[in-house]
Amino acid sequence: MATILLADDLAFIKMVQKEILQKEGYDIIGEAADGLEVIEKYKKLRPDVVIMDITMPKMDGLNALKAIRQLDPDARVIVCSALGQQQLIIEAIKIGAKDFIVKPFDPPRLATAIQKALK
């Protein structure tokens, strides 16, 4: 089954994502709370998919996304943020996000985004 790395500064959000994804059979192999930690964990764990928040301490999610895509041009990153502003969605897709999910999201939305990213 596909492996997933979760990045969000808020533990509650990661707990909700983890419950949804474990029910779908995905393997959550790591969690990060800021932009620098997610880059470190990506290098070490090489997950199939990263679910990435935007507003995080130390480095925001869009800069972390850029860094991860430089490390691995095939990296599959799904942005999951409450800041669903049109210009931010355009920016995220431009720098290589596979999808953009606006919080609060319905559980099937997250599962579908991962299935699509894995294709």
Binding site: L10, M15, T55, G84, Q85, Q86, Q87, V102, P104
Partner: protein, 155 residues
Amino acid sequence: MEVEYINPFIIGAIEIFEKIAQIELKKTSVQVTKSTKPANEICIVFGVAGYLTGQVVYSFKNHTAQRVVSCMMPDSKPEKQAEYFESALSSLANMITGRATILLAGKEHIIQITPPQINIENDKNAAYVEFPTINANFSSRFGTLEINVALRKTQ
């Protein structure tokens, strides 16, 4: 501070409370004040930058916050609700602020926010903004919510 900046927060708060906690909020009052200093002991603070600059502060009484968190995690044990207490409230406030930024940014602009800063006993030293603020109050079956919004267009 433009009065219309408050409406996206009012819409966001009502929508997100309903969706995330199944709690119905009713707006009770809106007025202009001099600072974002909160009225209640539990508060969540966001800095705002980009197209708009300023601060947004959400505050609850402790007993209200406890009930809100238990509505957000209805299937979890009390210990788990306690473990996630601060993070659940921060997430709720984060989603309301996010919803408001979508409405405020429109099609052209970008608004950034800081990660939420939560204070659980009305920290007198916290840095609140002394700037014209719109204060909005809501009631619910578990008590009140206050939102203080101080925003201006970035020069």
